[in-house]
Symmetry: C2
Subunit: 279 residues, 2 copies
C-alpha cells in the first residue's frame, strides 16, 4: 500500500509521500513515489503515485521521454493549461496500464495506478488534480483543498479539520507530515522515509524539498511532540458534568454553565464562487 | 456502516458508539448499538455491535431471555469469569447468525456481526473483549488498550497516540468522543447521536451514561473546539529551517539548533508482564 497527499492552498502546493512498496509482508521495498518535473521559470509539476509500481514507472519514463524530445508536440512542456497536462498524464497512464496488461493477462494482478498531479504553468494559477486509472481526473476545490491516494483514511481527519485555502504553506506542510505520521503509526503498509515538496505560488520551481527519515531532527521532533500536544488538547476539552474542576488550570475550570452556553461556531465562510475554483 | 470503540484503562471501561445504520444511501436509520446488561453490585456488561442488525437484535434478545430465566444454567448471570461470558456471547452470536442464515440462504447478504464486550464480575478485574463472527474472541492488552468495530481507520490515530493503561477514565472518554467525532466528520456512514457509557472499576454498575446529540452542549463544544486545538498544535510544531521565528510566540521561536537537538523520546515503559494482562 501507499499513502500520498497533495494540498492546494492560496500560497501554493504541498506534496507528501511515503516510500514503502509491498507485494506481501515479506516483499517490502523502498521506492520513491514523488516524481518531479521541473522547468524553472516556465513550469513545474509534481506527480504522486499509488498502485502498480511497474505501471507507475512506465508512465514516468514515457512522460520524461516525451518531455525531453523537442519534436514531441504533446508533452509536459507543450500544454498551455494545467488541466490539459492532467488529461495528457491520464492518457499516458491508461496507455501504460494497457501495455502492462497485455504482458500479464489473466494473472489476477491489478495493473492500475492512481496519480496526484500538481504544479503551475507560467501565467496561470497553481492547481492540483487526481488522475484516476481510467484516465479521467478531478481537481481540488476551495471546500476540498487536498487529494489523497492509497491508505487515506487514517490521515484524513487531521486534513478535514485543519486545511482551508488560507492555511499557510508551511502549516499545510506540517499538517501533511502529521497526516503521514499518523498513518505510519496506525498502518504497517505505509512506511518511512517520507518525501516532502513545497511549491510556492509563482516560484515556477520546487521551492523546498526534503527527505525525512526517522532520525531527521524535524521529523523526530514532530513524531515525538505531536502525541503530547494531542494529549494536552484532549485534557483541556470540556470536562464532564460530574468531574471536579482542576485547580490552577484555567482552561479546565469551565463550569457546566459555561459549557452549556451556546457553542462558538465558526463564522460562515464566504461562498468562494466559481472564480476561485480550479479551471 | 458503524463505528464503536471500547477502551480499557486501569480506572475502568469506556464505551462509545454511533447510531447510524444504513442498508444504502437512501435507507438510513437510527439504532442503538450499545447494549447494557446491568446487575448492580453483582456484575455489569456492555456490548457494542457492528454488522447485520437482525443478527445483533436476535443475539441481544437471546442474551436477555437467558439472563431473565432463573432456571437457565448458562447465561450472563451464571458465569464466574468474564472470559467465560465472552465465550458464551460468541456461542449465542454464532447460533444467531446460523438462524438468520437458514432463513436467508444464498441472498448474498452478510448475516455476520462483530461485538465488543466489556464489563466486570464481582471479585475479578474489569475486562474488554472483541467477539468475532466465528465466535472466538480476543482481549485488550496493556499495549493495546482499546478495541474498535466498524469504520475504524479514521478514529484510530488519536487512540494510538493517547491511550495508555494509566490514562484517566474521563480522558479516555474524551478521547473516544474525539475519535467518534473525527469519524463522523470524515465518513457519511457513521452518524449522530452518540452513546457513551463509563464503568468505573469496582462500581459493578454503569457509572455514567450519556446520549450526545449535535446540540448537546458537551458534544457541540468538543466538536467546535477540537479543530481549533489541533490547528494550534499544528502551528506550534517545529518550524522548517527556512521559516523565520514568529515573534511573541515562545513555542514557535525554536531555532534550528533546538530542533537539531536529540529528540525527547518517551521514557521506556516497564514491561507490563503477564500478571497485568487480561486473563
Amino acid at each position: 500500500m501507499t499513502y500520498c497527499v497533495g494540498i492546494e492552498v492560496d500560497e501554493g502546493l504541498v506534496f507528501a509521500a511515503d516510500t514503502r512498496t509491498s507485494a506481501s509482508f515479506d516483499d517490502v521495498r523502498v521506492y520513491r513515489k514523488m516524481h518531479i518535473f521541473e522547468y524553472p521559470g516556465e513550469r513545474v509539476f509534481v506527480i504522486l503515485s499509488a498502485g502498480n509500481l511497474a505501471t507507475t514507472q512506465l508512465t514516468m519514463s514515457r512522460l520524461n521521454r516525451d518531455a525531453d524530445d523537442p519534436s514531441c508536440t504533446r508533452s509536459l512542456r507543450t500544454f498551455k493549461h494545467l488541466f490539459e497536462v492532467a488529461e495528457y498524464v491520464g492518457e499516458v497512464l491508461v496507455a501504460s496500464q494497457s501495455a502492462v496488461n497485455d504482458q500479464a493477462q489473466h494473472s489476477g494482478v491489478s495493473v492500475q495506478s492512481t496519480l496526484v498531479l500538481g504544479g503551475q504553468i507560467a501565467g496561470e494559477r497553481h492547481g492540483l488534480y487526481m488522475v484516476y486509472p481510467l484516465g479521467n481526473c478531478i481537481a481540488t476545490s476551495p471546500e476540498t483543498p487536498y487529494l489523497q491516494i492509497g491508505e487515506s483514511k487514517y490521515g484524513k481527519p487531521i486534513l478535514d479539520r485543519i486545511l482551508r485555502p488560507d492555511t499557510s504553506l508551511e502549516d499545510a506542510a506540517r499538517c501533511a507530515l502529521v497526516s503521514l505520521d499518523s498513518t505510519i503509526r496506525s498502518n504497517l503498509s505505509v512506511g518511512l522515509p517520507l518525501d516532502l515538496a513545497l511549491i510556492r505560488a509563482g516560484d515556477l520551481r520546487i521551492t523546498q524539498q526534503m527527505r525525512l527519515e526517522a532520525d531527521t531532527p524535524l521529523y523526530a521532533e514532530i513524531h515525538d511532540t505531536w502525541s503530547r500536544k494531542l494529549e494536552n488538547a484532549v485534557r483541556t476539552l470540556p470536562r464532564f458534568p460530574w468531574e471536579p474542576a482542576r485547580e490552577g488550570q484555567e482552561e479546565d475550570q469551565r463550569s457546566l454553565a459555561q459549557v452549556i452556553a451556546p457553542p462558538r461556531r465558526m463564522a460562515a465562510r464566504q461562498d468562494p464562487g466559481d472564480e476561485a475554483g480550479q479551471q
